[in-house]
Each structure stands twice: as structure tokens, then as C-alpha cells.
């Protein structure tokens, strides 16, 4: 995974710069998402890395599936990735591209996992607090996980703010049994 990220970084940065020049951050995001979804499909696994399928055929196949949403530059990207044998890391390219995009737009995605569904007020309070802490516009995605018992876990990137009852109980258990 880590190695793939290293491989994907120059591609993602190149695509991002191109998108900035074209002023079409959203469009490129859609394109990358589409390609990564296509690549992730189980049926495609038989074709990627198959020596019987030539690179041209593979590129044509992917472009055919993606339909006519791609302009010349988009097609070139897919051909280049296939040519270099890096079509497999397109998911990482997409993830890194999204990071660059969020950075440029000053926004960040946060995930709030709670034991019970959060009310609108709670969501607003969390969003406001995170915005203050991170200095970015926070897009909150809410999830419910009953195994937390109570409280919530907020995740943004590597940072995890763990205020769940389950983790407190684990802490208590550790404190009792040194």
C-alpha cells in the first residue's frame, strides 16, 4: 500500500496540476473515480496483467467501458497508465488527487462514528469544533456503530479523536490490570 502511494504520487500531482490549469477540478475527480471503479470491478482482474491482452487492447477496453465522457487528455491519461503498467494504482491516484483537491479548496472530510444517530445540532457543533481545530471547512460524514455503546469517534485523515464509551472501558480495564 505504502509503495503504491509512492508510485501514485507523481501521477496524482501531474493530474492535479493539469486540472488546475484547465480549471476543472471536479471533472477530473469524476474521471478518476470512474476509472478506479472500473478497475476495481472483479471482471477486470482477468484482463489486467494478463499477457494475452495487449496494452492497446486493455486501454481500448477501459475507454470503451467509460464511454464517451472522456476528452483527449483523459484518454491520454488512461493510455499512459496502461502503457506504464500502472493502471492498478489508479485508486491511489484518485485518493491522492482528492487530498490535493481538498488542500486547494481548504476543505477536509471528517468521519463521525457514533453509537446513536447524531442530531442536526450535534453535527453542527462537531463541525464547528473541528473547523476551529483544523482551520479548514469540514465536511462531516456520519456513521452509526452500536458497538461503541456511547460517545463518538471522529476521524479525519490520520487524526482520531476517540471519545467512545467502548474505548474508555478498554482504558479502565488496562488501568485495573497493570
Amino acid at each position: 500500500m505504502a509503495e503504491n502511494t509512492t508510485i501514485a504520487r507523481p501521477y496524482a500531482e501531474a493530474v492535479f496540476k493539469l486540472a488546475q490549469e484547465q480549471g476543472d477540478l471536479k471533472g477530473w475527480s469524476d474521471k478518476l473515480q470512474l476509472v478506479s471503479t472500473v478497475i476495481a470491478a472483479p471482471e477486470m482482474a482477468a484482463f489486467i496483467g494478463n499477457p494475452k491482452v495487449s496494452k492497446e487492447q486493455l486501454a481500448q477496453l477501459i475507454l470503451d467501458i467509460c464511454g464517451n465522457q472522456f476528452d483527449a487528455t483523459g484518454k491520454n491519461l488512461v493510455t499512459l497508465l496502461v502503457e506504464n503498467g500502472r493502471i492498478g494504482v489508479v485508486a491511489e491516484i484518485f485518493a491522492l488527487y482528492e487530498l490535493c483537491r481538498a488542500e486547494a479548496e481548504g476543505s477536509v472530510e471528517a468521519e463521525a462514528i457514533s453509537a446513536m444517530p447524531l442530531t442536526d445540532d450535534q453535527q453542527k457543533a462537531i463541525t464547528a469544533a473541528l473547523t476551529r481545530r483544523l482551520g479548514r471547512n469540514v465536511e462531516l460524514v456520519c456513521k452509526v456503530d452500536e458497538s461503541l455503546l456511547g460517545g463518538a469517534i471522529i476521524r479525519t485523515g490520520d487524526l482520531v479523536i476517540d471519545g467512545s464509551a467502548a474505548s474508555r472501558l478498554t482504558q479502565l480495564a488496562k488501568a485495573m490490570l497493570p
Binding site: 500500500m1 505504502a2 509503495e3 502511494t5 509512492t6 504520487r9 485523515g157 490520520d158 487524526l159 482520531v160 479523536i161 476517540d162 471519545g163 474505548s167 474508555r168 482504558q171 479502565l172 488496562k174 488501568a175 485495573m176 497493570p178
Partner: protein, 513 residues
């Protein structure tokens, strides 16, 4: 033992009472790959080098390689229960070990956990294992002796408090024995000792512990053991952990002695960790920073001045200097001191005690090679009596070595040469000393005095050892006042010399050996 239920529920109650669940904000990562005790972790964008990482199952690791997209960490302890995809949490703390006087008399592992079955250790403080050594401003020069109780060392290669003196030699030359004798000799002097066993057999460590206990030296000693079966990561950090425990005493204005047994194995363990972390290998496949792992460790052994102690204790201890003396041990292969690690450590330390297989097999124990052993700073720290009387020992032995080849033509030699050979033989004999029997300053003084003043010249070479033993028991029984004075002040002048001469002469005329 009968459990008292009230006691236990009280304990639990107090634990719950003092328990404070905090909402933790920590960065997390996931284990990407795991092999040979090394984990590659994705994420953890703000991890520090040397930071303690929390793996599932109450296991800890240390971040060593911070790369662009991953972190290379060593797992401290067993890692079989960790799997790819597990979450790893940052703790925000550099790896720490417990410190304090509570550790004295205990055997702990490299992380400070007790392994001697004597129950938990209730230490009050912890301290990071990697600390920067005191700077130039905070140091004081070495001027107090750290007596090892071994004649050969205290007379020829004296060690001062705060010095780093390397003990180097092949396997089976008595390196550990020298160090253990030095620890035993600190009994009753207030010097705290730390013995760090790295990559040794658990049975050897158990032997050392038993011997120290038998000689009443365990009470002032901490044993840090990273045995051969512990992971390479633990063997690598054990010396730093021991050093931190020693620094605690140094910073309180006390004196401590630390023995690293041995640093060759630590370098091996580090080589293993570094190669598994895919750091580029250099000479003898050691990584590029193998010099630095030893230099930063040994630099922490130091004599610190009054200001430093006052600053370190926030003014609680005033007017005291502290010291940490290090006796690192290096095992050479086939007497090769020009290998990579031995040359490194020789150049870092303030001198070396060179032990030789040939001498050991010839029955000269401790098997110290007087020609190659040096102490660069210890001379300033010798007690007056040993300095005065021991100075000639080195010279006698050096002259003897030059002439030893002619010893077999004794009858054809001139008077002066024959005298020198005979003196050399007697001094060589006199430097022999049994294990676990360190000498007091007075005993050592009398032995050296006898050799120095030529009082041994009429004693048969084969009888020297017996003569010395008889002399020691005689002076301890009959010259109590003089012995006490010598042990307390270690002074030497004409009056004392006169008393010593008459004591030895009286002994020679009245006793048998």
C-alpha cells in the same frame, strides 16, 4: 498466601477512583507488512523518531524509520498476535523506562519490567531512554577514584568516577569477572551499580545475579537483562535503558557505575534491526551510524558539576557533583582489535583494559596485558598511596617483558639484569588475584609496598601468592589502626612508610607462609 477480599476490593476501588478516562486525540496508522519483528505502518503523519507506538494487545513498538509514505517500527516483545491491517496508535512519548532507587536489587528487562519474580516495582518516575549527554559547561574533570578492588587495575590502569574504561578481550578471558569484581567492591561505598546484560544466555545472567547476591552486592545493583532469546530490538535498547537508570543517580549528585556486557552483541542486534529496516549496509554489514550508537551511549557516562546537579534537581541538591562511570565490554574474535566495532569503542572510551587468552591460560588472572592497557584520565583520580606505590609496577613489568626472553639463561646474565627479571617475576605473581575477592586500599597498599621496597625479593616466586594472603590476614589482625587509617585517608608519607615497613618486617620474622 490467603487473599484478603477487602484488601482487593479496596485496591480496585482506589484504582477506579484514580482512573481518569480522557478523550484521546491521537494519530493512527495501519500495519501494512509485518516480518521478523519489523512492522511497516501506513499513516501516522506526525509520528516522532523513537516514539513509542501502541499495537493491539498491550504491545509497544518504537518508530525508527520515518519515510515519506510509511513508518518502519520495531516491535518490542512478541509480535505473533499482530496482523496486517491492525491499527497502531501514536502515544506522543519517546520510549521511557522507570527509574529510581526502587529498582536497586532487582532484575528487570530492557523496558524496566521486573523479571525476577519479586513482584511489581513501585517506581515514582520514568525517563526517556534516549537523552542528550551533558554539555561541556556542565562537566567536571575526573578526580575521584572508582576503586575496582583489583590490584592490577587500580595500580596500572586506574579508573576514575565518570570515566569510560573499556574492557576488551576474547571470549573466556575473564571480562565479566573483572566487571563483577568492580561491582562487588562498591559494597558500602554508596556507589550504585547497573549491570546491563545484552544477548547473553539467561543462565549466565542468573549466575551473575546469584554471585552478586552471595557477595552481598545485589542490594546496590540493578540488573538490566536482554537475553539472547529477547528480540533484537530489546537487545538494542537495553544499554540506553540501563544508562537512563544510572543517570537518575548521577543527576541526584550520587555516583553510579554501569557495566555494558557486551556492546559487540548490541552492535549485532542493531545490525539486524537496521538490515531488516532496509537501511544500507556498510563495513562488516553494519549500518552507517554504528559509531554513533556507541558514542552517544558512552558520552552519557560523565562527571557533572555542582551547577548541573542543582539544575537537574531544581535546587533540591546543592553542592554535590554526580558521576556515572561506564565499563563497556567488547568481545574480540581471535584477538583482533582492529575489527570495526572494537576500534570504534576503543576510540570513544578513555582507555582500555586488554585481557589476553595466553595470559589467562598461563594462570595470570586477571589476564591483563600491562603493555596494551591504558587509562587516559584515571591517573588524576588515583589515591595517594596507590599512586606512589603502584607507579613502579608498570615499569617493573615493562622491563621484565623486554628481558623475559633471556630468563632461561639466568646463570649467564649480569647481576642487574637478573635482579630485574626476578623483580618482574615477583610482580607478575603479585598481580594475580582470585575472583570475588576485591582488596581494600590498605591490603593493596601493603602488597604494592612489599614489591616496591624489595621486601619480596627473598620470597620464593612460587610462594608469592601465599605470602600475600598471609600478609593480609596478619595486618588485618595486628595493625588495625594503620589499616583503618589507610582505608579512610589513603594517605602516604614517610611516617606511614616506616610503620608499613616495620609491620611487614615483623610479619616476615614471625610468620610462616
Amino acid at each position: 498466601m490467603q487473599l484478603n477480599p477487602a484488601e482487593i476490593s479496596d485496591l480496585i476501588k482506589s484504582r477506579i477512583k484514580s482512573f481518569e478516562a480522557v478523550t484521546e486525540a491521537r494519530t493512527e496508522g495501519t500495519v501494512v507488512s509485518l516480518m521478523d519483528g519489523i512492522a511497516r505502518i501506513h499513516g501516522m503523519s506526525d509520528v516522532m523518531s523513537g516514539e513509542m507506538l501502541e499495537f493491539p494487545g498491550n504491545t509497544f513498538g518504537m518508530a525508527l524509520n520515518l519515510e515519506r509514505d510509511s513508518v518502519g517500527a520495531v516491535i518490542l516483545g512478541p509480535y505473533q498476535h499482530i496482523a496486517e491491517g491492525d491499527t497502531v496508535k501514536c502515544t506522543g512519548r519517546i520510549l521511557e523506562v522507570p527509574t529510581g532507587p526502587e529498582l536497586l536489587g532487582r532484575v528487570v528487562d530492557a523496558l524496566g519490567n521486573p523479571i525476577d519474580g519479586k513482584g511489581p516495582i513501585n517506581t515514582k518516575c520514568t525517563s526517556p531512554i534516549e537523552k542528550v549527554a551533558p554539555g561541556v559547561l556542565w562537566r567536571k574533570s575526573v578526580d575521584q577514584p572508582m576503586q575496582t578492588g583489583l590490584k592490577a587495575i587500580d595500580a596500572m590502569v586506574p579508573v576514575g568516577r565518570g570515566q569510560r574504561e573499556l574492557i576488551i578481550g576474547d571470549r573466556q578471558t575473564g571480562k565479566t569477572a573483572v566487571a563483577i569484581d568492580a561491582i562487588i567492591n562498591q559494597k558500602g561505598t554508596g556507589v550504585k551499580c547497573i549491570y546491563v546484560a545484552i544477548g547473553q544466555k539467561a543462565s549466565s545472567v542468573a549466575n551473575v545475579v546469584r554471585k552478586l547476591e552471595e557477595h552481598g552486592a545485589l542490594a546496590h545493583t540493578i540488573i538490566v537483562a536482554a537475553t539472547a532469546s529477547d528480540s533484537a530490538a530489546l537487545q538494542f535498547i537495553a544499554p540506553y535503558a540501563g544508562c537512563t537508570m544510572g543517570e537518575y543517580f548521577r543527576d541526584l549528585g550520587e555516583d553510579a557505575l554501569i557495566v555494558y556486557d557486551d556492546l559487540t552483541k548490541q552492535a549485532w542486534a542493531y545490525r539486524q534491526v537496521a538490515l531488516l529496516l532496509r537501511r544500507p549496509p556498510g563495513r562488516e554489514a553494519y549500518p552507517g551510524d554504528v559509531f554513533y550508537i556507541h558514542s552517544r551511549l558512552l558520552e552519557r557516562a560523565a562527571r557533572v558539576n555542582v551547577d548541573y546537579v542543582e539544575k537537574a534537581t531544581n535546587g533540591a541538591v546543592k553542592g554535590k557533583t554526580g558521576s556515572l562511570t561506564a565499563l563497556p565490554i567488547i568481545e574480540t574474535q581471535g584477538g583482533d582489535v582492529s575489527a570495526f566495532v572494537p576500534t570504534n569503542v576503543i576510540s570513544i572510551t578513555d582507555g582500555q583494559i586488554f585481557l589476553e587468552t595466553d595470559l589467562f591460560n598461563a594462570g595470570i588472572r586477571p589476564a591483563i596485558n600491562a603493555g596494551l592497557s591504558v587509562s587516559r584520565v584515571g591517573g588524576a583520580a588515583q589515591t595517594k598511596i596507590i599512586k606512589k606505590l603502584g607507579g613502579s609496577v608498570r615499569l617493573d613489568l615493562a622491563q621484565y617483558r623486554e628481558l623475559a626472553a633471556f630468563a632461561q639463561f639466568a646463570s649467564d646474565l649480569d647481576e642487574v639484569t637478573r635482579k630485574q627479571i626476578e623483580r618482574g617475576q615477583r610482580v607478575t605473581e603479585l598481580m594475580k588475584q582470585k575472583q570475588y575477592s576485591p582488596l581494600s586500599t590498605a591490603e593493596m597498599g601493603f602488597s604494592l609496598f612489599a614489591a616496591n621496597q624489595g621486601l619480596l625479593d627473598d620470597v620464593d616466586v612460587k610462594k608469592i601468592v601465599d605470602f600475600e594472603a598471609a600478609l593480609h590476614s596478619y595486618i588485618n589482625a595486628n595493625c588495625v589502626e594503620l589499616v583503618k587509617r589507610l582505608n579512610d585517608t589513603a594517605d602516604y608519607n614517610d611516617e606511614i612508610a616506616g610503620q608499613m615497613r616495620s609491620a611487614v618486617e615483623k610479619f616476615k620474622s614471625t610468620s610462616t607462609w
